[in-house]
Amino acid sequence: MAPLKLYGMVLSPNVVRVATVLNEKGLDFEIVDVDLRTGAHKQPDFLALNPFGQIPALEDGDEVVYESRAINRYIATKYKSSGADLVPTTPSAKMEVWLEVESHHFHPNASPLVFQLLVKPILGSTPDPEVVDKHATQLAKVLDVYEAHLAKNKYLAGDEFTLADANHMAYLLFLSKTPKASLINERPHVKAWWEDIAARPAFKKTIAAIPLPPPPSA
């Protein structure tokens, strides 16, 4: 059985989003480097995989899937009986809601914060304080909703860890490496949820494969 090929950069949070799920399923995969800095994502051989020219893309034999959240659904569905079962057999309305909440409330704020506070320093530029403040303020309000929800639910979809939790982990990881980790740590139920899911053995394997930069100097 050919191993799965995950195209992208090991430091890309959207690639880590997929690696998280691949590891939860206990699947063998290789990361095939697509270096954004050289424009590899706009070259014909990558565009043949993802015509939108974005990482990640997943190759599973003859099947190619792009968009990290679509890839994760595909993996969770096809390999349902392998490793942790991330999609309930009886489809869960709550899971579907929180998958979308990640995509439309959490991600649009977490992503710019990670870009400003982690990526820009790596690229040799400095965070824009206005952008940081705007998204930190918005993410705080979003996480207040998470706090209330997680006070009544162990995981986002209820009692079980599902794809809804898994899809958050990459950006939670990168956010936790920034000064805005306080957004997580100041909310006891969000913090407890993050610490619980971050301690999953499969996630430790995911983290070990990421060459995380040292924390930026204050």
Partner: protein, 222 residues
């Protein structure tokens, strides 16, 4: 079986997305109208349904859902799973990919254009043309990919309509009514796909409640 309840204002593109899916699935539902200008979505009774204070919200018995695409998936999975290509691994992955493409490439490009060019004049918001141009650039970047896709099949996930196409409805409806509709007209397959969606009975029914100016000109402010 009590009809489902869909809370919100029908001119909302997010409401439109959900309503075409409800109509396609042949689901019995009633719209519970809410007032945006009256701040109904921020009242405690609505926050109890959706703590993010947004519409639409669907109530189906004791199940309450929000986020338009989650509602769409729930409704279609329950009543018309073929529109999600459930049970077809490759097909459902294609539906999911194009739903994500719409969510991350199309809606975020169209909504600011709609806000600035259609709604802005009615609410006294000056247009940020630079931002509109940036959004048009994002749309122009993805239209060739759509054109190529729709040259290979009639709809985004194959020759039959699916949730992937339907999820585009609400925002395309308003964008195609604005001064920049010509951008899409340059792509004949995309234009034909949009025209095919417009011809569907579900779309005709839902569009009837979505005047191109959101109701502002006639004083029916949402």
């Amino acid at each position: 079986m009590a009809p489902m309840k869909l809370y919100g204002w029908v001119v909302s593109p997010w409401m439109g997305r959900v309503r075409v899916c409800l109509e396609e699935a042949g689901v019995e539902y009633e719209v519970v109208p809410m007032s945006r200008s009256g701040g109904d979505h921020r009242r405690p009774e609505h926050l109890a349904r959706n703590p993010f204070g947004e519409i639409p919200v669907l109530e189906d018995g004791d199940v309450t859902l929000y986020q338009s695409r989650a509602i769409a998936r729930y409704v279609l999975r329950k009543y018309k799973p073929e529109l999600l290509k459930e049970g077809d691994l490759e097909g459902s992955a294609t539906v999911d990919m194009w739903m994500e493409v719409e969510a991350h490439h199309v809606e975020p490009a169209l909504w600011p254009i709609i806000r600035h060019c259609i709604i802005g004049p009615y609410v006294g918001r000056p247009r940020d043309q630079a931002f509109v141009d940036e959004c048009l650039g994002k749309l122009r970047a993805v239209l060739p990919v759509y054109e190529a896709r729709l040259s290979a099949s009639k709809y985004l996930a194959g020759d039959d309509v699916t949730a992937a196409d339907l999820c585009h409805f609400g925002f395309m409806r308003y964008f195609m009514a604005c001064e920049y509709a010509g951008v899409v007209d340059e792509y004949p397959r995309v234009k034909a796909w949009w025209d095919a969606l417009l011809a569907r009975p579900s779309v005709k029914k839902v569009i009837a409640g979505m005047p191109p100016d959101f109701g502002y000109a006639s004083g029916n402010i949402p």
